[in-house]
């Protein structure tokens, strides 16, 4: 959560949105801000899935949607992160800051009932993303590990759902995951004249936008008018990346040394390959309505043990090959949300979630320092005829967490972060 930045751009022909969301909204690099109505329930939405964001939350939900619906929106995320060093490196006097930016992960869903029993939909959302960027990269004390790590991407998610009974539906979707990866850092050199470290080069690793495929399934049951139960599963997706690494020499302050450094650096762009297996995840929840009040509680399970390591392979220069160990464990999230309908136009929501970190202390690094998160959520809706407007705000506090002296790059200290997010979604039925 350091600084995550999310960018998106639309290419006219492909209409692809490239985005990177920052990782403060869900532990690891999962993202759960997929629609402002669900956000108002703190993401506890598997058992309701009552708008187009069902394509993310529970595919079966679109079977219950009336008319054609468009549900589009975005989330503004303002992350903030800080690091305080520990002995022996970089030491307790060192503090570092994330390079805070404003991130805007978008989401867009279209649903279309074909008949009473069959509905089709397509969504664009960002189940995973990351950007960690540190301020003042020329002086940042962890710059030989990472100055910026970005995992951008989105899923295009065509979905079909069937009502098996009036109160029971199932859905299935194809998850086409577009993703790109970028890592920037400095290359250290011992200056032989001073026997101290200087920055020999900046290295930029950048992948193309590569694609992986997965699927998702969901089931939604409404045993009574006031009770609904939902479960969904999104399969793991492996993306193989191809890209390149470029080495940009930096001045060391000594021209002879500069010559030697330049001579030792690979010239031009080196082909680079790596892969990430995004975790699968499953959600289970129930929602109960009491008059004007609706309550939902969900549990999410993330199969984070797919994220064992990041292997960087340089086909033309295997000496540069590197494995960044991550060694994540599977983890759970717990989400609780409450809504009160005030009148025909207005509703208010609030919720809380706890998101368990999948990361061991040793993997808390400048690339991705993760810890348990607590989310406090508020939201509301305004509806008028065929239009609805949802808004929600999250305050996400990541627990202060120490590397416990175990960081794999011997860069130890305590990370602390929080984020403020504001989601807005506009729905239209036609």
């Amino acid at each position: 959560m350091l600084s995550a930045s999310l960018r998106w751009s639309a290419a006219a022909a492909a209409a692809l949105l490239l985005l990177a969301a920052h990782r403060s909204e869900a532990a690891g690099f999962a993202i759960f801000e997929q629609g402002a109505r669900g956000m108002g329930f703190a993401g506890a939405y598997t058992a309701q899935a009552a708008d187009g964001s069902a394509i993310f939350h529970n595919a079966a939900g679109i079977a219950f949607l009336k008319d054609r619906q468009l549900y589009i929106g975005g989330t503004l995320i303002r992350p903030s992160a800080a690091f305080t060093g520990a002995e022996p490196f970089p030491g307790p006097t060192v503090t570092e800051k994330g390079d805070v930016g404003l991130l805007v992960p978008p989401s867009a869903y279209y649903t279309h009932p074909f008949s009473e029993r069959v509905a089709f939909g397509v969504g664009l959302h960002t189940p995973f993303g990351l950007e960690t960027k540190w301020a003042d990269p020329d002086n940042y004390s962890g710059r030989f590990i990472s100055t910026r790590a970005a995992l951008k991407g989105f899923s295009v998610n065509p979905t079909i759902a069937f009502k098996l009974e009036d109160r029971l539906a199932v859905g299935v979707g194809l998850d086409v995951r577009f993703s790109s990866l970028q890592l920037d850092r400095r290359v250290p050199v011992v200056n032989p004249f001073t026997q101290r470290i200087v920055d020999g080069a900046a290295v930029h690793l950048k992948s193309d936008t590569n694609t992986g495929f997965g699927f998702n399934v969901g089931v939604l049951a409404k045993p009574s008018e006031t009770l609904s139960i939902g479960a969904s599963y999104r399969h793991k997706v492996k993306v193989d990346y191809s890209g390149e690494a470029t080495f940009e020499p930096l001045s060391t302050g000594n021209s002879d040394l500069d010559l030697r450094v330049r001579a030792s650096l690979p010239s031009g762009a080196l082909p680079l390959a790596t892969s990430i297996e995004f975790p699968g995840f499953a959600s289970f929840g129930f929602a109960k309505t009491f008059g004007d009040w609706t309550f939902e509680a969900d549990v999410n399970w993330y199969q984070w043990n797919t994220f064992e390591s990041l292997r960087l392979t340089f086909e033309t220069d295997p000496r540069l090959n590197e494995t960044i160990e991550e060694d994540y464990s599977n983890s759970f999230q717990y989400r609780f949300g409450l809504e009160r309908v005030l009148n025909d136009s207005w509703a208010m929501r609030g919720g809380y979630f706890f998101d368990e970190t999948p990361s061991p202390a040793a993997s808390m690094s400048p690339i991705l320092p993760d810890s348990n998160r607590h989310g406090f959520c508020l939201g509301g809706s305004w509806t008028s005829g065929t239009v609805r407007l949802d808004a929600a705000a999250w305050y996400v506090r990541a627990a202060e967490r120490s590397t416990e002296g175990a960081n794999r790059d011997s860069y130890n200290g305590t990370y602390k972060s929080h984020a403020l997010t504001l989601g807005v979604s506009l729905g239209y039925s036609f």
Binding site: F144, I197, D409
Partner: protein
């Protein structure tokens, strides 16, 4: 009497905890260091206050909050004069950075120095030598008694002892492994170390010892390959698909030979290089070459002496710091600090100074943290040394609260005289 059973029960509960429990805390009220150059803070061929204040024992004292840790300080440019790197192109040139020696600045201290380590001291020296070398023994011991005698007399509460390197190092530096000349015989080492530990333990102080690194892993002997190197590429010259061995005292150097940095000036003159490749065809002298037999003798002696240290210290309940493992790690995989991998490479590894034998300040700080971890595992609670000031890596914060640290000062003033310590080296 009704309470007795309960009391007994508590005692029974407590007993196992005491038996296997944590070591008693360490009292750093009076800390002394025994050793050789590696404990004195010797850097780049020199004992000089700039680096003496960052020796491993000085770090330990600072981390323990000791304010009166006295050292035999020597002013710049040190004794001997500190070496520096004057150029890396076309070949690295290492030479003394000045022409006049530094001078002792703490000779008037009316008690023993806390860091009694004397560069060049062997185990036997530490036990009995009181001076008489017209050199550093005289300056540091001041005829007040041997290192061990002065330590015992000071009634210390903590002692670190890292001695024995010079009982094997001479063989590596002089290129000759001769028992009784460059190598202390194993039996003499064992009995001397037994005397040392028995004597120190008898003071009642907490004693911490270190074993010996493999001196055939230091850049002094690992930097120059035993084959002819093309000076412009730094790569071995290949003839019929094979590298060409340098010429040693008994003909072409066998595979596995080590060539010391002291050979560098000779190689620059063509000594040791076949005439067919532009050399003189004359052999390198025995003093700059370790053949595989000599090398094996040294490695074996280090192992035998370390076994003696392990045995003796185990019996005496003295913890032993595994310096051998530390150097092996540096040699094989390097040590990572903040994403930077430090190695035993000469000039570019960050750990070894310009003499190829002694650590840099970064090296000593890493060694100090190894000591501190061992002490902390044995009842200590010292914070580790902050390594950042020794890395050169800046951080975007005010660093005013950091312990003041004197950085290297390589003034560009041209010191004309390039004494012949290690004049040139074939590759960085």
């Amino acid at each position: 009497m009704r309470h007795l059973p309960k009391t007994l029960f508590l005692v029974l509960l407590a007993a196992p905890a005491l038996a296997q429990g944590t070591a008693p805390t360490i009292n750093f009220a009076n800390y002394y260091s025994i050793g050789d150059s590696l404990a004195s803070g010797f850097v780049s061929g020199s004992l000089v206050v700039t680096h003496q204040v960052n020796s491993a024992p000085a770090h330990i004292a600072r981390q323990a909050g000791i304010t009166d840790f006295q050292i035999p300080s020597i002013s710049e440019p040190g004794i001997p004069i500190e070496l520096r790197l004057t150029a890396i192109s076309p070949a690295p040139i290492i030479a003394p950075k000045a022409t006049a020696l530094g001078a002792p600045t703490n000779l008037g201290l009316t008690r023993s120095y806390n860091n009694l380590a004397v560069p060049g001291a062997t185990l036997a020296d530490a036990l009995v030598r009181i001076g008489g070398d017209n050199g550093l023994h005289d300056l540091i011991l001041r005829r007040r008694g041997s290192q061990v005698a002065q330590t015992v007399a000071a009634r210390p509460s903590v002692i670190t002892v890292w001695i024995g390197n010079n009982d094997v190092l001479g063989a590596a530096v002089r290129g000759q492994a001769i028992d009784g000349v460059t190598l202390t015989p194993a039996a003499a080492f064992r009995s001397g170390f037994q005397t040392l530990i028995t004597t120190l333990n008898a003071t009642g102080a907490r004693v911490f010892a270190a074993n010996l690194p493999d001196v055939t892993s230091i850049p002094f002997v690992t930097t120059i390959p035993p084959v002819v190197v093309n000076p412009s590429t730094g790569q071995p010259v290949m003839l019929n698909g094979s590298p060409v061995p340098l010429i040693g005292p008994s003909g072409p150097l066998p595979t596995g030979s080590l060539v010391t940095l002291a050979a560098s000036s000779l190689l620059a003159q063509g000594v040791g290089i076949p005439t067919a490749l532009g050399g003189r065809g004359t052999p390198l002298p025995d003093e700059v070459v370790l053949d595989p037999t000599e090398r094996a003798t040294i490695v074996d002696r280090v192992a035998v002496n370390n076994q003696a240290i392990r045995d003796i210290c185990a019996t005496a309940n003295v913890p032993v710091l595994d310096m051998n493992a530390l150097l092996r790690t540096l040699s094989t995989q390097g040590q990572v600090v903040g994403g930077v991998t430090y190695t035993n490479a000469f000039l570019t590894g960050g750990i070894f100074s310009y003499d190829g034998v002694h650590p840099t300040e970064m090296g000593y700080a890493i060694v100090a943290n190894e000591w501190i971890r061992m002490m902390n595992a044995n009842g200590g609670s010292l914070p580790e040394v902050d390594l950042l000031p020794f890395t050169g890596i800046s951080a975007p914060v005010s660093r005013s609260s950091v312990v003041p640290h004197t950085a290297w000062e390589f003034t560009p003033e041209a010191y004309a005289a390039l004494l012949a310590a290690f004049p040139t080296v074939d590759r960085p």
